[in-house]
């Protein structure tokens, strides 16, 4: 470094603002140059003279008080009026309570919605299992008959209700028999129909409610399920038959 370069950086050196490399270069030059070293010494003296003698004006006590007051006023203005409504003590717990109440209602509603279909879900699952079992163990029918007048009387004395038995062979769904089964905690009637090589199990038992309910659809493990209530009876039809044909079947049963 020459003297001009040193002069450029000598205040940065004084203030300790130079990186290590530059500081060392300045130091080396100051060791060699009396003029620059003198300038640096003069700067050191000047700096301490200023630091030791320059008055530092502390905030007067009155100003501090005034500022504190203004701050609290500004703060109060900021908090009014729109926000003050929310700052009112009573509203806050009320809002919290309302939020909790709403949450409770929502949780209850969701839970209720979940439990309501879950009975149907369980039942649908049970029906599918029964359907599969009926096909597997070759226990499709207790009374193998294509004659509704044979099947219907067969249930007499075995159930506390009399299921309607329709022969739908003219419409492509041939009755092949009936059987007794145990579902949903009770004895139920099962009518077995066939469409081509697809079997349909039609489960019938007295409904809890008398009101008719339209057909609802479900699919379980690749089986289609139809469920409806008619004339105080609950009907579940299950098959691997396609949905459209199964619905056609259900409508035929209903009429």
């Amino acid at each position: 470094l020459n003297c001009d370069e040193t002069k450029e950086l000598i205040h940065g050196y004084l203030d300790g603002e130079l990186d290590l490399v530059k500081s060392l270069e300045i130091e080396r030059h100051l060791n060699e140059c009396r003029g620059c070293e003198g300038t640096h010494q003069g700067n050191l003296v000047l700096r301490s003279a200023i630091r030791e003698n320059a008055p530092y004006f502390s905030a007067p006590r009155g100003l501090r008080k005034q500022i504190r007051k203004s701050l609290h006023e500004a703060h109060r203005v900021d908090s009014t009026p729109s926000r003050s409504v929310w700052n009112l003590g009573w509203l806050r717990p009320a809002a919290v309570f309302a939020a909790f109440a709403l949450m409770a209602v929502l949780i209850w509603a969701v839970a209720a919605r979940k439990t309501a279909p879950s009975t149907d879900d369980l039942l649908a699952q049970e029906i599918v299992s029964d359907h599969i079992r009926s096909l597997m163990v070759d226990h499709l029918t207790d009374v193998p008959s294509t004659d509704q007048h044979t099947v219907k009387p067969w249930f007499d004395g075995k159930l506390d209700f009399a299921p309607q038995v329709k022969d739908l062979s003219a419409r492509g769904f041939s009755l092949i028999g009936g059987r007794l089964d145990y579902l949903n905690g009770r004895d139920v009637a099962v009518l077995v129909y066939q469409r081509r090589n697809h079997f349909i199990n039609l489960y019938i038992w007295p409904a809890d409610r008398m009101a008719d309910a339209g057909i609802s659809l479900a699919t379980r493990q690749g089986y289609n399920l139809l469920h409806w209530t008619q004339g105080g009876m609950t009907y579940w039809a299950v098959s691997d038959l396609n949905n459209a044909e199964l619905q056609e079947f259900a409508q035929l049963v209903q009429t």
């Binding site: 010494q41 630091r51 530092y56 203004s70």
Partner: protein, 175 residues
Amino acid sequence: VEQQNRLASFEEAVIPHLDAAYNLARWLTRNDADAEDVAQEATLRAFRFFGGFHGGDGRAWFLTIVRNTCYTWLQNNRSREVSFSIDEQTADIESKVPSPEATLIQSVNREMVRHSIEELPLEYREVIVLRELEGLSYKEISAISEIPIGTVMSRLARARERLRQCLESQMHVEV
């Protein structure tokens, strides 16, 4: 609760630097009453903008607002002082060969130093106060005064040279 916290955290982060704020305002306005006005206004402005303070150095943040408030105030009340802008290029540092005065400066008094600083142009006074009285780094001064770090160093160099000359002339009068 949030509002309460805002005032509390402001009092915690900013109010401890009220002395620094007043000191800067006092040096820039060179007057007690004006410094109080500016410090008060700057504090309220800082409180209003406190949402923009994301922790860190409360002093540098506060001093930036104080400095801007000072300049606005001077512009409105003493525009002549502000419009007298220093010329960074021509005000070349006339570094004198170390003289006997360098040692004489050791015997300056408070009144002489105060007078010398007050005589400095606004921009020089500002960097001297921030550097020598607040002990701020070039980087902090650069942020507060909104000038590059290189300019901080050159302004300090020129400000010190002027201080030296001013003090030496007073010494001569004294001697």
